[in-house]
């Protein structure tokens, strides 16, 4: 397995702020005023360093709402023209 990091995608329509993920990934996630996971690095999809990927996958499995996905790091953005697909 390469020593690659990952990113954590949160399905906000499914998340109910149950709080398991922020407990299991305290280095990456804090909690906001209302109990929802808050990325400490401020990104919409917080970065997951490679040493925490296993923990992130565990959190993905244990989320009662199946609201988490551990995804590979996005490719670096092109210097010109931006990404190929329209922004989400």
């Amino acid at each position: 397995m390469s020593r690659r990091g990952a990113r954590l995608h949160i399905d906000w329509t499914a998340c109910e702020g149950r709080g398991l993920c922020s407990e299991m990934l305290t280095e990456i996630l804090a909690i906001d005023d209302w109990g929802y996971p808050l990325a400490r690095d401020g990104r919409p999809e917080p970065a997951v360093p490679h040493e925490l990927v296993a923990h992130a996958r565990r959190a993905e499995r244990l989320c009662p709402r199946l609201a988490l996905r551990v995804l590979p790091e996005p490719p670096p953005t092109r210097p010109q023209g931006g990404s190929q697909l329209p922004p989400s």
Binding site: A14, E16, G17, R18, G19, L20, E23, M24, D33, W34, G35, Y36, A59, R61, L62, P64, R65, L66
Partner: protein
């Protein structure tokens, strides 16, 4: 040897009932919106999963030993088809149903990410029935049926699940619930001046 199988079958059945009780209680508690006292939140689903896997193992021992015990007259088809058994078919049939539901629960839970949250949750709800079926099965089948200690154990199991249900339903919701405050009034469109356009673009 036969007696050993018979005793193993009965013993494993009892332990399975206790474990299933723990599984149901933990499952109910995980919907409560708060962690179990003194434990982190993730402990609840982890314990629930571990207990259910253990229950499945014990269920396998219970069913397996009785399959090999000639006295029990249990056939392979009795694992899937309820109420067709040779020995106490009604009570056995309840066990069959419970067994089938447990199998469905385990398979769907292992494939949860492929199933999606909604489909998985529906099957899980339907399979709540596995536990009362197991309780009834335990009360009616087997040589221990009717004994005082079996009834006592069953009563404790039922009480445990009842208390878990009460814990879930009667405790007030945590203060910072996910629903948040209601939207403030003012859903009307607050246009700065009314917009009445009817003609073509000028």
């Amino acid at each position: 040897m036969n007696e050993a199988l018979w005793y193993t079958g009965r013993g494993a059945g009892l332990v399975t009932l206790v474990l299933l009780t723990v599984v149901v209680a933990l499952g109910v508690a995980s919907r409560a919106g708060r962690p179990l006292p003194g434990l982190p939140r993730f402990a609840t689903p982890v314990l629930h999963r571990n207990a259910s896997l253990l229950a499945v193992v014990l269920l396998g021992v219970h069913v397996g030993s009785l399959l090999f015990d000639p006295y029990a007259q249990l056939r392979l088809v009795d694992l899937m088809l309820p109420f067709a058994g040779a020995y106490r078919p009604l009570w056995l049939g309840l066990g069959t149903l419970a067994f089938d539901l447990v199998v469905a629960l385990v398979i769907t839970s292992l494939l949860r990410s492929r199933l999606g949250a909604t489909a998985w949750r529906r099957i899980h709800w339907a399979a709540y029935a596995a536990w009362p079926l197991a309780v009834l099965h335990g009360l009616g089948t087997g040589t221990d049926a009717g004994t005082a200690w079996l009834r006592a154990v069953t009563a404790v199991c039922v009480l445990t699940v009842a208390m878990a249900g009460a814990y879930r339903l009667l405790l007030p919701d945590p203060a910072t619930g996910p629903l948040g405050p209601p939207a403030p009034p003012g859903n009307r469109d607050p246009r700065l001046t009314p917009l009445t356009i009817s003609g073509p673009p000028r």
